[in-house]
């Protein structure tokens, strides 16, 4: 019997697939690393525990193996807590216990049904890499997107190479089996479901760095984190998406953007060439003269050009004097104008305006501390927005000459490691007492104050670790002794904190390309999205804004937050959609420079010029 409390915990999994990458250096779930299906990673076990509790999946042979191969090592607790605050080990224990007791009662696991198609698929990819076990299928049937219901596939196939993909696609085409591709086994937007065959690319993790050509050849199972690791080892950097997102999948899907897009661009700027397998099973390269033109843009939903089997991704140089910097602002328009100015002056590589919610969520190891911190930053310090920058020493000197009040790398480390004390009440009261016309941050960021801040914050890994559960404190202390964990450049390259945005609730992100020279327009878009959310009682907040193409355009993220397990929230977002969809569509066709990302989905190979300047 799985308790409702455990089921509820299990159902909270955000499906960010962060348990499938070793982003904290803890190692990976051994069972997942061996079996590679989503179902064998903590994410899959969470789904299965929920499904078992709701009695919507039988205990199958596959499920027994999944339960038994979990060794309760605790890696998932550390990984998951870092980004979501959840503790999956309790769920894993409950799943194992439930299955064990069920077997002890003399029950026999359900065997998957015999299926001739499955046998043929197994001949193509190998016996262990194709399955129709209902428990395994279940973990590919649903995602925490509230407007898409579950769809159970018939098969899940993990091809090992391009030829196997081609053979599977041909077989599916010949036998009328629909298929969908999932780069890393999940789809947080809920757009990738099928009742046919799911191709999970997780086995295809080849990365070849071509240093002479400044490119990385990437297979479709390679995640952003893994590519960045490989690139950095050879002194390069890539523009990547969220760490667990696959590089190929992300390019094809949304075009891949980040704060680095200021320097490195978006969409077609990201790659030198790509290889696709067409719907007919034919292989082509985008650079082939006869290849379909995927560099154009159509303002309507379009299908992808096929399955990306390889991408030749651009590598970028790094210098050894790069560091991060945050420039605080009280007013949105001022922050937008400043970041645009930096972009057009070519100052800085990564650039973006972050809201208080974003910044506090990224920095704080727990949701409650993030909430306190947001209040501290926004209300007490007057730092409602921050312009984030990564730049070399010349760029940073330029920024200091433009805005003296900055949080440099050293101060950021101090603030991060002293976070619990930064949000502490007496200190906040002290700062609140500084009634004046200038925001408090202007004084607090002066160099003379730093020794006092150090005494107040007592920055140390132990200080930060004091904010988390007692049994995790040693782990957090060790973790934060590593320099990269407080390094804005590393954190922004590997983006391991981005999943924290969905920590307290599932995030529903709106992404809109905007003209950067119109801060009032950008603010009005945020205001309208806020009004729509407020009318439905949905939590919402500004996310970030990154300039593109020398500050001419930018990409704006505005976020709604929902409990994806709450039917009321699903209904709220459905009602909100009736307002935001026509609004975003209208501004996308009537205002130059505005484009909602919805129609760019599956057009991620398009040249940015094809949609930013129409």
């Amino acid at each position: 019997m799985i308790s409702e409390d455990i089921r509820h915990q299990a159902a909270q999994c955000r499906h960010y697939a962060m348990c499938k990458i070793d982003y904290l250096g803890t190692g990976l779930c051994a069972s997942g690393a061996e079996h590679q299906y989503v179902s064998h990673f903590p994410q899959g076990r969470m789904d299965l525990c929920d499904a078992l509790a709701r009695n919507v999946v039988p205990i199958t042979e596959g499920l027994v193996e999944i339960a038994e191969t979990c060794n309760l090592c605790g890696i998932c607790d550390r990984q998951c807590h870092f980004i979501t605050g959840m503790r999956p080990v309790e769920v894993m224990k409950a799943l194992k216990k439930h299955v064990r007791e069920w077997l002890e009662q003399g029950n026999v696991p359900v065997a998957p049904p015999a299926d001739a198609d499955l046998e043929r698929l197994r001949e193509i990819v190998g016996g262990q890499w194709a399955t129709n076990d209902p428990a395994i299928l279940m973990t590919y049937a649903n995602d925490p997107f509230p407007l898409a219901g579950p769809r159970m596939p018939r098969f899940v196939v993990l091809p090992g190479n391009r030829d196997e993909i081609a053979a599977v696609v041909r077989y599916a085409n010949d036998h009328g089996i629909a298929y969908a591709v999932r780069g890393n086994g999940g789809s947080v937007f809920g757009f990738v479901f099928t009742d046919g065959l799911v191709l999970d690319m997780h086995r295809m993790k080849g990365i070849t760095i071509d240093a002479e050509n400044w490119t990385a050849l990437v297979e479709p199972g390679v995640t952003s984190f893994e590519l960045q690791q490989a690139a950095v080892k050879q002194g390069f950097r890539v523009n990547t998406a969220e760490p667990a997102a696959t590089v190929c999948g992300n390019i094809v899907c949304t075009g891949l953007f980040s704060t680095w897009s200021n320097a490195y661009g978006v969409n077609a700027d990201t790659f030198v060439d790509m290889e696709f397998l067409s719907r007919d099973g034919e292989v082509f390269r985008l650079s082939d003269p006869t290849a379909p033109n995927v560099f154009c843009y159509e303002h309507q939903p379009t299908s992808s050009p096929g399955i990306c089997t390889r991408a030749f991704v651009r590598l970028h140089p790094m210098t050894d004097d790069e560091a991060g910097m945050l420039v605080p602002f009280t007013a949105f328009d001022e922050a937008v104008s400043f970041v645009q100015d930096l972009s057009r002056r070519r100052i800085g590589l990564a650039l973006g305006v972050l809201g208080g919610h974003y910044l506090s969520t990224f920095m704080a190891p727990t949701a409650s501390l993030a909430l306190q911190l947001q209040s501290t930053l926004s209300e007490t310090l007057g730092m409602r927005y921050a312009v984030f920058l990564v730049g070399d020493r010349f760029a940073r000197e330029a920024v200091r000459s433009m805005r003296p009040a900055v949080i440099d790398a050293e101060l950021f480390r101090m603030l991060l490691l002293g976070l619990p004390n930064l949000a502490e009440g007496a200190w906040q009261d002290l700062v609140s007492g500084m009634d004046g016309d200038e925001p408090a941050y202007e004084l607090l960021l002066r160099p003379e104050i730093r020794p006092v801040l150090e005494a107040i914050l007592r920055p140390a890994p132990e200080t930060l670790a004091s904010a988390v559960d007692e049994d995790l404190r040693d782990f957090y202390t060790q973790l934060y002794t590593r320099p990269e964990m407080t390094d804005m450049v590393w954190l922004n390259m590997f983006r391991i904190l981005s999943s924290r945005m969905s920590r307290h609730k599932h995030m529903f992100a709106f992404l809109v390309y905007v003209p950067m020279d119109r801060p009032a327009l950008i603010r009005s878009i945020c205001d309208r999205l806020r009004q729509i959310a407020d009318a439905q009682g949905l939590e919402n907040d500004f996310g970030f804004l990154t300039p593109l193409d020398l500050g001419k355009r930018g990409i704006l993220e505005y976020d709604y937050y929902i409990d994806h397990q709450n039917p009321d929230d699903a209904e709220r977002i459905r009602r909100a959609a009736a307002d935001f969809e026509p609004y975003l569509e209208e501004i996308s066709v009537t205002i130059k420079g505005v484009k909602w990302l919805k129609n760019i989905f599956s057009q991620g190979c398009a040249r940015k010029e094809a949609f930013l300047y129409t």
Partner: protein, 421 residues
């Protein structure tokens, strides 16, 4: 002290504020009927806030039945009250004490301050127009004098040069902050409107009000309290650094702890060359208010101020003594010295009060003293004993953080030493 029950009804705005709540208690003690206007805040209704304050003020239950609490927002027309409530109010209110005020100084809060202090008054007078209310007691401030130097009279200063306050920026040639400007404007609004509707107007101009001079009890921990609180915070911070963390951070700033527990905290306070700060305790304000209200002409302006300013050097001495410190010292003039981090933080705490710490204004008391002296209402001197009572209370309630949970236990001097330091 409970007076005879009266059928007279007094409307008090800002009933949940520092002065307003004390006045509610005082009027109830006199046996008057009181209608208190207040807003809901911090997840509490106006009534809940009022009850909490009455408990704190130790108002007996039997007096509270004469209190009516109306949840109203004077920032909106007619306080947002429904027509029946307004009619009822107009039929029963005999006098009104207008305490509701926003005391923010920051230019960034100009619109909010003007909305509360000026538009709020206009809305109140709209509410009272046609009512039986015959007298308005306006709680203003001595600092409507703005940047005047020398003697400030108990009259309305000229209004020249101040137009539409909702559009105009802060007039920095005449006022130090938006609060002064808004209260100045409010006095003129009150005078003009009361003249039109035939209502008596008494304007009370207190200087800086602190807690009770005997018990130190207070509801507000701003003004005098802010900078002292900052010193107290630094004391705790660096004492802990020395005792628990080796004192490296303290040492870097020249801070050290003597064997007897005295902390050397080198902060140079820019005291200026002015005449110090004018401080009055809340108990004096209440007695003065009552005396003026009971005996004075319904029309008049009264400065409720201390005849003697307190020099910053005195407060510095008091602070050193109370918190067992050395190193805190007052510098004459606004010397342009390099400042360390502690001093910069401290400066920021007193920045908004700079004009009040180095006051060049002398408030005429002729009219007020003509009323107060005959009835023996005299402002207590701001001695160390008074300072210590106030700071003892402040520390005991952690500068207001424990105001509602721990308000009655007195702290002895010896206990204070250990608990506060």
């Amino acid at each position: 002290m409970m007076g005879r029950e009266s059928k007279e009804t007094t409307l008090i705005t800002g009933g949940t504020g520092f002065l307003g709540s004390h006045l509610v208690a005082r009027f109830l003690a006199e046996g008057r009927r009181v209608v208190a206007l207040a807003r809901n805040r911090e997840g509490m209704s106006a009534a809940q806030r009022m009850v909490r304050l009455l408990d704190w003020l130790k108002v007996p239950q039997n007096l509270r039945r004469r209190l009516e609490i109306l949840e109203a927002d004077l920032e909106v027309p007619r306080g947002g009250l429904d027509p029946d409530t307004i009619m009822d109010l107009q039929n029963k209110v005999d006098e009104c004490v207008h305490c509701a005020s926003d005391t923010s100084f920051a230019v960034g809060k100009r619109e909010q301050v003007q909305r509360v202090n000026v538009q709020g008054l206009e809305n109140l007078l709209d509410l009272l127009a046609g009512s039986r209310c015959r007298r308005l007691h306006l709680i203003s401030t001595a600092y409507v004098a703005g940047k005047q130097v020398g003697k400030c009279s108990e009259d309305l200063p000229p209004e020249d040069g101040i137009g539409d306050v909702f559009k105009d920026a802060l007039d920095t040639t005449r006022f130090h902050n938006v609060y002064e400007q808004s209260k100045h404007r409010a006095e003129h609004v009150a005078m003009q409107r009361c003249a039109v509707i035939g209502m008596g107007l008494t304007i009370y101009r207190p200087s800086i009000v602190y807690g009770d001079s005997r018990t130190g009890r207070t509801l507000a921990f701003n003004a005098l309290y802010h900078p002292v609180r900052a010193v107290h915070y630094f004391r705790k911070l660096y004492t802990e650094d020395i005792l628990r963390h080796g004192g490296r951070k303290a040492g870097a700033l020249g801070i050290h702890l003597d064997a007897d527990g005295t902390l050397h905290l080198p902060i140079r306070v820019l005291g200026g060359d002015g005449c110090g700060v004018n401080l009055i305790p809340v108990d004096f304000f209440l007695r003065a208010f009552q005396a003026i209200r009971d005996t004075a002409d319904p029309n008049g302006v009264y400065h409720i101020v201390n005849p003697r300013n307190t020099f910053i050097s005195e407060i510095v001495t008091f602070t050193n003594r109370f918190f067992q410190l050395t190193g805190l010292r007052s510098l004459p003039g606004g010397e342009d010295l390099p400042r360390n981090g502690l001093e910069l933080l401290f400066d920021r705490h007193v920045q908004a009060y700079g004009a009040y710490m180095r006051d060049a204004r002398v408030f005429d008391r002729t009219r007020a003293e003509a009323v107060l002296n005959p009835v023996g209402v005299v402002c207590p001197a701001f001695t160390y004993k008074v300072f210590a009572a106030c700071m003892r209370f402040a520390v005991d309630v952690d500068w207001g953080r424990r105001l509602w949970s721990d308000t009655t236990t007195p702290v002895t001097a010896s206990k204070q030493k250990t608990s506060s330091c």
